[in-house]
């Protein structure tokens, strides 16, 4: 068990965004979280990654209770996410973006950086090499020196993923990675997700693109109006009548 959510509830003022949501994510699996708009999927991600505090419930990463950890503590523990509205570091190059991903895998502080101590020079070389490796992994190596702000949309998505991979995570949460991609890019994304899993990284996806989800996921969790509606394999979900009516309406 890589990630376990237990009774996650989130209430904003008068609105219950999430109501007692529980599920587990197995090590090395690709899990999809789907649901109609407003189901609470991004809120769930925000809670797991420490950007929101849940009103009730717990989050466990492997055996560790990370329920109240701060966001910045999670990368070192192996948990990372990408954003629905791509949050690139627009003023830096593609390579530099990925190098930030290696922040928790490096340690030079202000002093050693300012004085360029030998340890820092060595570490900088290591960061650069590793980052290039990740760009090669996602197929973006030729764009390394391009300004991240100038990337076409699909490449920006890919950069977010490359940057997240540089944190050397155990589990990566992707928030609608296929949004805005054309069918070719989506097919490439599916391949990339599989290769990420093959690198022993657990993947959790929030997605609307059903073809991608059904194709790539081992297990799917369905949310609706803040509650967990169903959980199972793609086949089981496709045949679940409650899921069908949630998406298509009852009439």
């Amino acid at each position: 068990m890589m990630l376990r959510l237990n009774g996650i509830t989130k209430i904003f003022g008068g609105l219950t965004a999430l109501d007692d949501v529980s599920f587990s994510v197995d090590v090395g699996s690709i899990t999809g979280v789907i649901g109609p708009n407003g189901a609470g999927k991004t809120t769930l991600f925000n809670i797991v990654t420490g950007l929101y505090a849940q009103t009730a419930g717990e989050v466990h990463l492997s055996q560790k209770n990370i329920s109240f950890f701060n966001t910045e503590e999670l990368a070192a523990l192996g948990l990372v996410r990408t954003f629905q509205n791509v949050e690139l570091f627009g003023q830096m190059t593609v390579l530099e973006n990925v190098m930030v991903g290696m922040h928790t895998r490096s340690a030079s502080g202000i002093f050693s950086c300012a004085f360029r101590l030998p340890g820092q020079i060595k570490e900088e070389k290591y960061i650069r090499e590793k980052s290039l490796e990740w760009l090669t992994f996602t197929g973006m190596a030729e764009l390394a020196d391009m300004n991240a702000g100038n990337l076409p949309f699909g490449k920006g998505r890919l950069l977010e993923i490359s940057r997240a991979l540089a944190t050397e995570p155990k589990i990566i949460l992707m928030d609608e990675p296929a949004a805005g991609l054309n069918s070719r890019e989506t097919a490439e994304l599916a391949l990339l997700i599989r290769r990420i899993r093959e690198s022993s990284i657990t993947v959790v996806l929030v997605e609307h693109d059903m073809d991608l989800v059904m194709d790539v996921c081992d297990s799917i969790v369905v949310l609706n109006l803040g509650k967990k509606l169903a959980e199972g394999t793609p086949r089981e979900i496709q045949e679940n009548s409650a899921v069908i009516s949630a998406y298509l309406g009852d009439g």
Binding site: F12, G13, A17, T43, N46, Y52
Partner: protein, 294 residues
């Protein structure tokens, strides 16, 4: 008895200063609520009110009423021009750029004032003379009454405007949800411009009514602006009673502090309060903690 009289004196000047801070803070709140921007130049409109009035009185020899009205009108025009030239083209710029530009604009206005009117301090004659009144053994200048009276009037007027007039309600709608307001036919751009117009008008009025008591010069805007900002922070960015209370609290604390602790650190008191509130309870003392919407 004497210390009681002193206390009363401090309270009085604290309340009248506080009323001014409340009016200035008002200006911050109106623009913030309509646009989400803090108008760094708010203090400069306060300065313009006083300086323009003095200019019209002394140089153009206009009667007091006319000078005041003209000063308010010109300040309002400057405020609207500021919105048009510096704010509107940059609504989509990144926040840091917006801040630097508003700072630049406020400095520009201050610098222009210095070029036009020099660095001297000037005094505006009191509206109804300098003969003090004696109430409960304390000295009250007629100007104090003007300040408190006019502040009350402006606050009542704004209450009526925001709660009972169509335009006022439209402005409030813009502050809650500009998208929705636009969809129901409210001209958001006009509302933004109107918010700047009101803020600069009210700001200049504040500058005019305090000018007879405190000297005015080209650089009073920085301090007054910052103190008005402090008032509105204490009050929780409200366009209503919160800011009034915030201003009064600030004025009182400042006055009592100056009287009983140290007069020379008077200004520092306001800024220390500002920092404390921002550090400890940035949503202000008079609002309930808003639940974060996603």
């Amino acid at each position: 008895m004497d210390s009681f009289r002193q206390l009363f004196q401090y309270i009085l000047s604290g309340l009248s200063n506080g009323a001014i801070y409340a009016l200035i803070g008002f200006g911050f709140a109106i623009i913030y609520n309509a646009t989400g921007i803090i108008n760094f130049a708010q203090g400069e409109f306060v300065m313009l009110g006083g300086m323009l009035t003095i200019f019209f009185l002394a140089v153009l020899k206009l009667p007091l009423m006319a000078a005041i009205i003209l000063a308010i009108i010109i300040s309002t025009i400057v405020g609207v021009a500021f919105e048009r030239l510096a704010i509107r083209p940059l609504k989509n710029a990144n926040p840091l750029s917006l801040i630097i530009i508003t700072i630049g604009a406020s400095i520009f206005i201050r610098g222009a004032a210095m070029l036009i009117w020099g660095k001297d301090t000037h005094a505006l004659p009191a509206f109804s003379g300098d003969n003090p009144l004696y109430i409960a053994g304390a000295t009250i200048l007629p100007q104090h009454l003007w300040i408190i009276g006019l502040s009350v009037l402006i606050i009542i007027a704004s209450r009526i405007f925001f709660n009972h007039s169509v335009v006022g309600k439209a402005m409030r709608a813009c502050s809650y949800n500009p998208r929705a307001a636009g969809l129901v036919g409210i001209n958001v751009k006009s509302m933004v411009m109107l918010s700047f117009a009101i803020s600069s008008a009210v700001g200049s009025m504040a500058g005019i009514i305090i000018a007879p008591l405190t000297m005015t010069s080209y650089d009073v805007g920085v301090m007054l602006g910052l103190k008005g900002f402090c008032a509105v922070i204490i009050g929780g960015m409200s366009s209503g009673m919160g800011t009034v209370l915030g201003g009064l609290v600030l004025g009182l604390l400042e006055s009592l502090g100056a009287g009983f602790i140290s007069a020379s650190y008077k200004d520092a008191i306001a800024f220390i309060i500002l920092l404390l509130i921002l550090f400890i309870r940035p949503e202000g003392l008079f609002t309930k903690k808003e639940t974060e919407r996603f």
